[in-house]
Symmetry: C2
Subunit: 191 residues, 2 copies
Amino acid sequence: MELLKERIRKDGKIKAGNVLKVDSFLNHQMDIDLFSEFGKEFLNIFKGENITKILTIESSGIGIACVVAQYFNVPVLFAKKNKTKNIAGETYTSRVESFTTGRVYDIIVSKEFLKNDDRVLIIDDFLANGSALQGLSKIVTDSGATLVGAGIVIEKGFQPGGDLIRKSGIRVESLAIIDEMDEKSGTIKFR
Amino acid sequence: MELLKERIRKDGKIKAGNVLKVDSFLNHQMDIDLFSEFGKEFLNIFKGENITKILTIESSGIGIACVVAQYFNVPVLFAKKNKTKNIAGETYTSRVESFTTGRVYDIIVSKEFLKNDDRVLIIDDFLANGSALQGLSKIVTDSGATLVGAGIVIEKGFQPGGDLIRKSGIRVESLAIIDEMDEKSGTIKFR
């Protein structure tokens, strides 16, 4: 998606440890017009798939998923990272390790909201090591629902997540795949 | 907002400890069409205020804020609950206590994204004790931006947050205010 690549080139900042900072438009401040463009693009990619639900993970996936969902006319469900008073009853659970913080945590989704006749599209902002996406896809599988695929905004193609998950048979569509990025020169090479 | 009250009556579940469970449409599974109606309503309330930015707090405020923001044509900024690698540099910070979990935590917003010429609308899903709203409003004040007001989806009118914050001079507009709810009978009385 050319518009997104341009935006990453213009506003993305490469930091030590393979961190791409896109907090001016994607995951702290959020450019909602840009999110609408993601929605059009994902609809174009996944139309005809009869998607019934979009699944994402807190926190930075939620805004993107909600705007994208308007193009599919489906509800959004987000996996929670902590058990709160508000989720009681039976849940699907999966273990995830955050690339950004290094923390390991359980994600949970209430069983009530994923049924075996659901056709689920996972939406997330980043794909790096693939841990969040694996966790979400395990939850979909556990529920008996059909995982149609995953729509990712930015994939770090030089990290193993994308290859790993595609090899497992899951359709992964990323709007921008970064093959190389260099902190010193600030250059980014897209696939 | 009648549509919301009906939905709360139909799908809300009252739990012990004054918890109202609305996770089938508001803060776990999210009904995006309903969020669009919130957007129309908040635009109706706050139009003419020249809002330049919507501020919310992770996680359950984000989806609502992003859909609402489409009606104002402004970006969304969300306060983060934990410092991650992705927020470096100068931040505004405030302390918040969660009604739902009882945890106390710092919320942070990057200074880069709140300027003194911003006119900010805070959007959140719940107002109970008002701690999150006070934390967010402190951040807006610290930044020198103008706080236009707060748009809340569900206010628990029997808890002190709403009164407290209105008395401090902040405009708070809630789409549904609950004056009483009874766990045993399952009845909810709206203001």
